[in-house]
Symmetry: C2
Subunit: 235 residues, 2 copies
DNA sequence: GCCGTTACGGTCGGGCTGACCAGAACCGGC
DNA sequence: GCCGGTTCTGGTCAGCCCGACCGTAACGGC
């Protein structure tokens, strides 16, 4: 582990990186942004977008930069929150890297700019055969990110981070259904959302029906509440 | 944004530390472990026990070491979980330090070894006049730690980390009352705990009554559940 | 034995939830 | 225009959970 000529005092400085798990919803399914690392190195492996922390940069800034430089995503209104820090000494074979993981959520209406080696994967493909193989300990990070998102949908208004500024209750319900992977009763969902103070506010607009027809839905906007009382518990 | 003479590649390595917020309960009140830093430097200021991460050490190991070296606490059964990472470039005036904060909980029966400059403070003294002044951004960390503990008592069995292996339901209720700062109805609390599957298991022992007398209480142990269904919501 | 205290078990009404139903409003085809 | 299909919206009803409350059981102290 250490040679005889190495200094006795352990080095107390190490590389610090930020890896960001960006989730969004496309076509009613929850999707995760992954990057194909340098083609020379890990062929066929995928990783979360990550960058080293610059010495004049906050961790949040590094997270934004990782999305901007690696996937062309500059969404200032995207939800961004710290997930957890992964610092096992052997987690990166190239050396000791302490990685601060972030969870990012963007509305499904955002532009699908995915230049270079970025791609959105259906989260159900991740563990399945034929799906992308995740490098380093990123599978663990993704598992934690998904569990965090699923849990926070219950007791916070985080679901509104997946929808554009104006949305219908069906849009919001499809967010819950995509993240939790279960169907919800439209009528009960509606009653719960509108009776939770501050979750959504009704606008005076109505949305045009989808291709299959149906009665037009009212348009809502985000409310001021961040924590939901009572909570939207998973069935 | 960048000067012409500055090196293009910013330094991507920085000091990484672990700061641990240890909570316990003494005399029915929630308490926090604080350390008085080197007497020469910040006189009268208090800080969370923290150590730099060694290059062959996991973050969890550093958290354990911070408690062991600075407060003499070697509790292998103590609950320890990562809280959040604080990495603002200006958070430490001595230089860039990325600090991974941990939340630690120990039972109130643990030995009160507090050698050197460690002390347990009532959490209600922290913001109050005459209470300890916290160095760096540790007040922010303590606020986050308290909120995490209060929230996780609702939907996990974390409260059992505050009580010894054998406890009464009154012990467990006093944990909730101390952490949340509100009184709870004993009968309703009892009904809720015993009806939550896997929260506690009844033993065949009975505890001796307290100094004021009263009927002896049954003794319980921790159950196998980690998440509570349904949750113990704050009143 | 009496009393204060604590533990334990039960009742009652209100609120929330899931399952279900009915009407309203739109689209497309005939 | 009419009709069936689809979606949105509002309502009912039974069941569960919860807070407030009461009564009994079991101890120690006087």
């Amino acid at each position: 582990m250490s040679s005889l000529t190495a200094p006795l005092a352990p080095i107390s400085t190490c590389a610090v990186a930020v890896d960001t798990a960006l989730l969004t919803i496309r076509d009613g399914r929850l999707r995760l942004l992954l990057i194909e690392p340098e083609p020379s190195a890990l062929r066929g492996w995928w990783a979360l977008p990550g960058r080293r922390v610059r010495d004049d940069e906050s961790l949040d800034d590094t997270a934004h930069r990782s999305l901007s430089e690696l996937a062309g995503i500059t969404a200032p209104d995207a939800h961004l929150e710290q997930l957890r820090t992964y610092g096992d000494p052997s987690r990166d074979p190239r050396g000791r890297v302490v990685s601060v993981a972030y969870l990012a959520l963007t509305p499904f209406a955002d532009d699908p700019v995915d230049p270079g080696r970025a791609r959105l994967f259906d989260v159900d493909e991740l563990g399945a055969p034929g799906g992308p193989q995740l490098a380093y300990d990123h599978e663990r990070i993704v598992t934690d990110a998904l569990e965090r998102a699923r849990a926070k949908l219950e007791y916070t208004s985080l679901a509104t981070a997946f929808v554009p500024e104006e949305f219908t209750l069906a849009d919001l319900r499809r967010v819950y259904e995509a993240v939790w992977g279960v169907p919800l009763d439209p009528a009960n969902f509606r009653r719960k959302v509108v009776s939770t103070p501050g979750f959504v506010v009704e606008s005076d607009k109505t949305a045009s029906p989808g291709p299959g027809g149906g009665r037009p839905a009212k348009v809502y906007r985000r409310g001021s509440a961040t924590h939901l009382h009572p909570a939207m518990l998973r069935p």
